[in-house]
């Protein structure tokens, strides 16, 4: 599978549109699902996917395995662009929120926010279920929602040091899961 994708990237680098089409068909669902999880919007995700695959096409010749396997490379590109967008949107929403705060009670705003988020979230299974609730929470906030460590600390009302500890322990566990899976595959 991975070798197939590498071969497709090599052909893309030489200008093969057919290879690009196959690469798209193979990985578009993953990239779109990931974009949807971060952006929570079909139209934004669609736009993002176009940008991502344009970048894949243009940078195919610069791909190397050091950038990760093809799927990891695609996921890194997708996440980088999606996080930029979601952070930019969050900055804009902050301005709106300030205005809304004057007309809504804190309780109403909080309830509305929680309700909309829970509706929009996509289910994550697999590796993330290996984490405890606290680890899972910080990883989701950082990896899927694009919050920085300081923002997570403020959002959860916990010290910055605790955020770092939880992130680190979560990542250590995830690396362990990956290593185990790779061993099982091999």
């Amino acid at each position: 599978m991975e070798h197939d994708s590498i071969a497709l990237i090599k052909e893309m680098a030489n200008g093969s549109r057919e290879a690009f089409r196959q690469f798209y068909q193979k990985h578009a669902s993953l990239a779109y699902t990931f974009a949807m999880r971060i952006l929570q919007s079909p139209s934004d995700s669609e736009d993002l996917l176009q940008e991502v695959f344009m970048q894949v096409w243009r940078q195919a010749s610069r791909y190397s395995k050091e950038r990760g396997n093809p799927e990891a490379w695609l996921i890194t590109i997708t996440r980088s662009r999606a996080i930029d967008k979601v952070r930019s949107k969050r900055r804009a929403d902050k301005g709106v929120q300030k205005v809304e705060d004057h007309v809504k009670t804190a309780t109403e705003a909080s309830e509305s926010s929680v309700a909309s988020k829970s509706l929009a979230k996509l289910t994550v299974s697999g590796a993330l279920t290996e984490l405890n609730a606290e680890q899972k929470e910080v990883v989701e906030l950082a990896y899927f929602d694009g919050y920085t460590q300081t923002e997570i600390s403020e959002k959860l009302g916990i010290p910055l040091g605790t955020v770092k500890t939880r992130v680190r322990s979560a990542l250590k566990k995830l690396r362990g899961v990956l290593t185990t899976k790779e061993s099982e595959t091999n």
Partner: protein
């Protein structure tokens, strides 16, 4: 800061959670070349790539593939020869490599990260610039369309307004004319009404006179040769009022007019009524302006060249003794 601390920051950096001064310090450290950190970043990113794969997959919208393919059609991808190289398996960095190789690797790592970052940023900026340009073009198009639509609406409105004004003006003129006509008609009707009232009053008065017991009928003889006429004067000597009726008198020409005269003895005739006749030679004329002390013994009709004469000058057509 010890290596362990840098590696901790590398993990946070790998998921873009690092911020503030720590982010700046770490980027400087990374640019200086720390393969262990670089490896850790790579390792974390690759590990976390399993997370999206754990999501329940959603198929992208139908038609997106066509859009994406159309996009790349517009951007041919011709790679320089030998640009694509699959990197060999990652060498295990450590003491087995000599110091020289370590220095080279660190330098190469720094250059790689710098290049990678710069390249990524350039791509991002380029993409954002392209999007911004596209948005500007779209906005310009929309603005132009809005202006054009606005101009069309304005022109149409002005044309309709002009048409409406012209129609209104024409209608107003028609209405004004109608109003004038109606006013003229009204005046005419009022005049007719007054005339009718006056006529009725005269007729009533005359009927009273004619129905009074003292009325005398004076038959007029025709004195003009070739004229076949008949005429009578109904005269009330007490009231000094009366009426003459005639038929068969010839029509007058130009300013000519018939004049009825009252004659008392040897006194000069007094004009007591002027008249013309219709095409049948018929005429009705009231006997008016008879002096109160005049005792009439003869009525006569002459044809005068014009009205208002105080003495007869024309030929006598009729005469009768009262």
């Amino acid at each position: 800061m010890d290596q362990e601390k840098w590696l901790e920051l590398a993990e946070l950096y790998a998921i873009d959670a690092l911020d503030g001064q720590e982010l700046k310090d770490f980027e400087v450290h990374l640019a200086a070349g720390d393969n262990l950190c670089k490896e850790r970043i790579q390792e974390v990113r690759e590990s976390l790539s399993v997370l999206p794969q754990s999501l329940s997959l959603i198929a992208p919208p139908v038609g997106l593939e066509t859009k994406v393919m159309a996009q790349i059609e517009a951007h041919p991808n011709v790679a320089p020869q030998g640009a694509f190289e699959i990197a060999p398996p990652k060498p295990s960095l450590g003491w087995v490599f000599g110091l020289g190789f370590g220095v080279l690797a660190l330098a190469a790592g720094a250059v790689f990260i710098l290049n990678q970052n710069n390249e990524q940023k350039l791509n991002d900026v380029g993409m954002q610039l392209k999007e911004a340009k596209q948005q500007v073009v779209t906005l310009q198009d929309e603005l132009q369309q809005a202006k054009s639509a606005n101009q069309e609406v304005k022109s149409e409105f002005e044309a309709q307004l002009k048409q409406f004004r012209e129609a209104s003006k024409s209608e107003l003129l028609t209405l004004q004319q109608s109003l004038k006509d109606m006013d003229a008609q009204k005046i005419k009707m009022q005049k007719m009404e007054e005339e009718m009232k006056s006529g009725w009053a005269e007729k009533n008065n005359m009927m009273k006179v004619l129905s009074s017991p003292g009325v005398k009928k004076v038959s007029m003889d025709v004195l003009m040769e070739g004229v076949d006429a008949k005429a009578q004067v109904y005269w009330h000597p007490g009231m000094k009022q009366g009426m003459m009726m005639s038929t068969g008198l010839p029509e007058v020409e130009g300013t000519e007019i018939y004049e009825l005269w009252a004659i008392a003895g040897e006194n000069a005739p007094v004009p007591v009524g002027s008249f013309t006749v219709d095409k049948d030679g018929m005429a009705y004329v009231n006997v008016e302006n008879v002096p109160s002390d005049m005792i009439i013994d003869t009525f006569a009709v002459t044809l005068e060249p014009t009205s208002g004469l105080q003495a007869p000058s024309g030929p006598m057509y009729l005469a009768g003794s009262a």
